[in-house]
């Protein structure tokens, strides 16, 4: 078989194809270095000539479909009768049984179909010719003639005033589109540049809402924090301040999230304008990565590096949140801190730059430099 096959595909290809009665038109150019090998001779499959093999293949295919039927029924049984809380090898037993039986059933149906096609369905070879994609010249001529006739009979090309006034009317249709769409909105205004932080707002623990005193924080401590207006706290006496809810609350929280960290004061090298933004080594930074806005709190307390888990942007929190590695282009915005009369940590203002990823209108201002 192998030897014969090699012969067929060699330089005798054309001859072989002719000998086997194939009558395809082979386009051969003069001096074509590669001869069209034509088709190899058609030999029947074992199942075409041997009835025992044919019957065996038939049994195989029907067997696969039959087992698939049994498995499908088994999946129904599993769905109805396997306890929903039972486990099997640490998997949920019900899901495992349903998935295994149904998956195997689908696999067997597919494999049966392939086996059927390969062993038993007819085996003749077909050559499908490729045709040019363009319309036949006759169709092109007829269509052009119809269009020309239409133009002549309507006088579209002749009556220029009508034609141009129609163009004018169609052009005017663009105007309402512009004016109507212009009223979609409102425009974001400065919402991208501002957060809910403002002077005097307490920095509290996220989730628990507990306000924070500087003496609660040890060297190497990290607190995931929020402005107190956004966190529900049972012990809070500022009850009436929770004015935001729903989507507005989530949006505000997503922008206002901060992390509070404490380092050795001697390790911190603040920019001249930021010397009094911290409290005895406690600094507060936005929790939103300036690259594409992932929340970041992966802080190495010994290196002072804050890592973003999404794309490994790394910010040095001891050095004004500058980018030391990764795709982020801007420093992490820092929140100036102060203390209120009760000794709790408060913000002294909003962030001085927009938090989160860059946006078009943010313009070319890059880092806040010293």
């Amino acid at each position: 078989m192998t030897d014969k096959h090699n012969d067929d595909t060699g330089e005798h290809g054309d001859e072989v194809a002719r000998r086997n009665g194939h009558t395809t038109d082979v386009v051969s150019m003069d001096g074509d270095p590669v001869h069209d090998p034509g088709l190899p001779p058609h030999d029947p499959r074992p199942t075409d000539v041997d009835e025992t093999l044919e019957r065996r293949a038939e049994r195989q295919v029907a067997g696969m479909f039959g087992i698939a039927t049994v498995l499908i029924l088994a999946s129904c049984v599993a769905y109805l009768f396997v306890d929903i809380d039972a486990t099997f090898l640490d998997f949920n037993a019900s899901n495992f049984a349903i998935g295994l039986s149904l998956g195997l059933a689908l696999l067997l149906i597919g494999m049966g179909a392939i086996q059927w096609a390969k062993k038993l369905m007819t085996d003749h070879e077909i050559i499908e010719q490729r045709h040019p994609a363009a319309s036949p010249p006759a169709d092109v001529a007829a269509t052009t003639a119809v269009l020309k006739l239409g133009n002549e009979e309507s006088g579209f090309g002749r009556r220029k005033m009508i034609r141009n006034s129609l163009f004018g009317a169609l052009g005017a249709l663009g105007l309402p589109t512009v004016i109507f769409l212009g009223d979609l909105g409102p425009l974001p205004g400065n919402a991208l540049s501002r957060t809910v932080w403002k002077r005097g707002m307490r920095v509290v623990n996220d989730v628990t809402g507990v306000p924070i005193r500087p003496e609660d924080l040890e060297i190497g401590q990290l607190v995931n924090a929020q402005p107190d207006v956004l966190v529900e706290n049972e012990d809070d006496d500022s009850g009436g301040e929770h004015t935001l809810e729903g989507t507005a609350l989530l949006n505000a929280k997503a922008k206002a999230a901060v992390i509070l960290v404490r380092m050795q004061p001697k390790d911190i090298t603040p920019y001249p304008g930021r010397v009094n933004w911290g409290i005895d080594g406690i600094l507060c930074y936005s929790k939103i990565c300036t690259h594409v806005g992932c929340p970041i709190s992966l802080w190495e307390q010994q290196t002072h590096d804050l890592l973003c888990p999404c794309h490994q942007s790394t910010f040095d929190l001891a050095n004004n949140g500058i980018v030391v590695f990764g795709p982020a282009a801007r420093s992490l915005p820092q929140l100036p801190l102060g203390l209120d009369s009760e000794g709790f940590i408060i913000a002294m203002s909003d962030f001085h730059e927009p938090v989160g990823p860059s946006f078009w209108e943010r313009g070319g201002e890059q880092d806040v430099s010293p």
């Binding site: 041997d50 998997f91 628990t208 040890e218 190497g220 607190v223 992966l298 190495e300 307390q301 790394t314």
Partner: protein, 274 residues
């Protein structure tokens, strides 16, 4: 005596004699030998002194003779200062086998503890005597058994806010730069999880009791344990490490199987010569 002498050639006689000998030797040793520190009725001062002796043998080569820390010539820590880290840090580091370290490196892996619990307590007492620091938490502070329902949900919320950035959503751990990593929390005891939050070992930040109360910590511990007790509803978890192993599996096994089927469909089958 007749009872004994008639049985002196019994097959088990030798075994009985050996057992009696061992019992006598053991009893004699218990009476004569000096009392070990764990059994002795030591005062706190004795415990500290015992801890200092252990420290000088096992810890001082890296942490300094007075636990002041040793810096390398390049200015890196050979062993950090232990003044003020507290007893909880010692109990965590030595109790999980991270300390004593086998060699210096980016991060100390866990291993079987080298010291006994009594020795760890002595070491902790010594380090705690240097300067105030977090004490070893009591059982009722860290034991998270019985936390369920609303408290467990709150633990999950605290967990996702404070811990998942490093330890992964399912506490499977994750990579940090320069060979460091956040370890998996599977199989970590309640006490060690509590102490880790309290003391901030290695690169982990501190979560002090004032900002994350013992009750909050206990809820987090209960949630972490519930993660590992939940069966895998979604099938193979591949370590709960997220898209990297899942993608690898899909590309190698999934696509590989599809390519295999395509080859099966595409190859010409066996042909007959008849």
């Amino acid at each position: 005596m007749r009872f004994l002498s008639t049985r002196r050639r019994h097959p088990l006689a030798g075994v009985v004699v050996v057992l009696l000998g061992l019992l006598m030797a053991g009893g004699l040793y218990a009476v004569v030998a000096p009392k070990s520190p764990a059994q002795a009725d030591t005062t706190q001062q004795d415990l500290v002194e015992e801890g200092r002796k252990l420290f000088l043998v096992g810890c001082a080569s890296c942490h300094g003779k007075n636990a002041e820390g040793i810096q390398t010539k390049a200015g890196n820590n050979l062993g950090p200062s232990l003044i003020g880290v507290g007893a909880a840090a010692v109990d965590f580091q030595v109790g999980t086998g991270r300390m004593p370290a086998v060699q210096t490196g980016a991060q100390m892996p866990t291993k079987d503890p080298v010291y006994t619990q009594a020795e760890i307590e002595a070491l902790a007492a010594y380090v705690a005597s240097l300067s105030p620091g977090p004490a070893i938490p009591s059982e009722e502070e860290y034991n998270a058994a019985g936390i369920a329902g609303e408290d467990l949900v709150r633990g999950g919320e605290l967990w996702r806010t404070n811990c998942t950035a490093c330890h992964n959503f399912n506490a499977s751990g994750g990579a940090l730069p320069h060979g460091k990593y956040a370890p998996s929390l599977e199989g970590v005891s309640d006490k060690h999880m509590f102490e880790a939050m309290l003391t901030g070992p290695q690169q982990m930040p501190v979560f002090s009791d004032q900002t994350l109360t013992p009750e909050d910590k206990k809820q987090i511990i209960a949630y972490v344990k519930s993660l590992h007790e939940t069966p895998d509803y979604g099938g193979f978890s591949m370590g709960y490490l997220g898209p990297v192993p899942e993608g690898l599996f899909a590309w190698v096994v999934g696509m590989g199987a599809l390519v295999g089927f395509a080859i099966w469909i595409g190859t010409a089958g066996v042909r007959s010569k008849k």
